[in-house]
């Protein structure tokens, strides 16, 4: 099969040029970069999920490669509030489920507790001062969280101009509010508190009166 042993030996004696030292450095950098990228991808999946959810709820879309592409405005006034509503409903459902889980040991004849919508209530005891022995017993045995406060801080408002709703001649001013909502629960018996805080966005359309 091998008819050219001498020629093969001559060819093997001919050595190809060696790679430049720069190539080693470039490969090393690429190796390190790959390790860093994969580690970041592993660690950041949760943050990525939350970011996508937040962007989805305010009207963004993302493609398969994870590159965020701003969704085009579709002209419908109800689009963003609709998405925001779904996001808010999901958050509210999560809160309700959390409360239901926390209050599983709550009996029907317990006094009704009312959430106070004021930041100051966070430091104020919601349950009245305990006086009777019966109340003391109930309080000591209770292990429940009760709503202690809810705040909504508007940290940015943007006027996005006028627009017309479908089939309407009246202009509407489009205002976008960016807020931070916080809910808090307290356990009077142990003093433990639970706080949930999340950013939200709301678009409001206000009719512009004729002048």
């Amino acid at each position: 099969m091998n008819d050219f042993p001498e020629l093969e030996n001559e060819l093997r004696a001919l050595r190809p040029a060696r790679p430049s030292p720069v190539l080693f450095e470039r490969i090393e950098e690429a190796m390190v970069e790959n390790c860093r990228t994969s580690a970041a991808a592993d660690a950041g999946w949760l943050a990525k999920w939350f970011r996508r959810f937040a962007e989805w709820s305010r009207g963004d879309a993302s493609d398969i490669d994870g590159q965020l592409v701003r969704a085009r405005e579709r002209g419908r006034a109800s689009q963003t509030p609709y998405r925001f509503g779904i996001g808010l409903a999901a958050a509210a459902a999560a809160v309700v489920l959390l409360l239901a889980r926390i209050n599983t040991d709550q009996t029907r004849n317990e006094d009704k507790e009312i959430a106070q919508v004021a930041p100051a209530s966070e430091t104020r005891p919601v349950v009245p001062a305990l006086s009777g022995g019966r109340d003391v017993d109930r309080s000591m045995s209770s292990n429940k969280f009760i709503p202690a406060g809810a705040t909504q801080v508007v940290y940015n408002t943007r006027n996005e101009g006028l627009q017309f709703a479908d089939g309407s001649r009246e202009p509407l001013r489009r205002l976008r509010y960016q807020t931070q909502q916080t809910w808090q629960w307290r356990n009077p018996s142990t003093g433990a508190s639970l706080r949930v805080s999340y950013p939200s966005e709301e678009v409001v359309l206000i009719p512009v009166s004729g002048q």
Binding site: L14, P16, A17, P19, F24, I27, M31
Partner: protein
């Protein structure tokens, strides 16, 4: 050339196979820097997945695939390379370190080989692949690889004979 390497010693592994890889990549490029770009991309991609070079055919197939993608990415380059391959293979020059006139003539003769024969010759002589591995890397049969190799040697012998 056992080519078994762990994740840390890619440098020693690359020192061993780098020159052959670079020469193989030069089959599709006209400059050493382009060939180095291809080898870098292929080696990093291959090493990240395998952390060893025990499947050499797959490594060379990766180099070949990336080289072809590299050509496709630049259409002007693709047209130029296609013209080069069609008209005269001699302008695609593998780089060798020759020591005398005889080796210089041998290198020039290698550069004048048809592309498909030179490809097999490069894999066989300077990368020490078996015909089975060459067949896997190039997507051809073993018989085709062996016959191209024999044709390459015959053509070299013929071109080196005194007129």
């Amino acid at each position: 050339m056992d080519n078994i390497a762990n994740h840390e010693n890619w440098k020693s592994c690359f020192s061993e196979i780098g020159p052959g890889l670079l020469l193989f990549a030069r089959q599709w490029t006209r400059s050493a820097s382009d060939a180095e770009d291809i080898v870098q991309e292929a080696f990093v991609k291959f090493w990240r997945r395998n952390h060893r070079i025990d499947n050499r055919a797959l490594l060379y197939a990766t180099v070949r695939s990336i080289a072809l993608d590299f050509i496709r990415r630049d259409k002007r380059r693709a047209r130029r390379e296609a013209t080069v391959f069609a008209d005269a293979d001699s302008t695609v020059e593998p780089q060798f370190e020759w020591e005398d006139e005889a080796q210089s003539a041998l290198a020039a003769a290698v550069n004048c080989l048809p592309h498909d024969q030179r490809e097999v010759l490069v894999l066989k002589i300077w990368n020490e692949l078996t015909f089975s591995e060459i067949a896997d890397a190039l997507g051809i049969s073993q018989n085709t690889a062996a016959s191209r190799y024999r044709y390459a040697l015959a053509n070299l012998k013929k071109s080196l004979q005194p007129q």
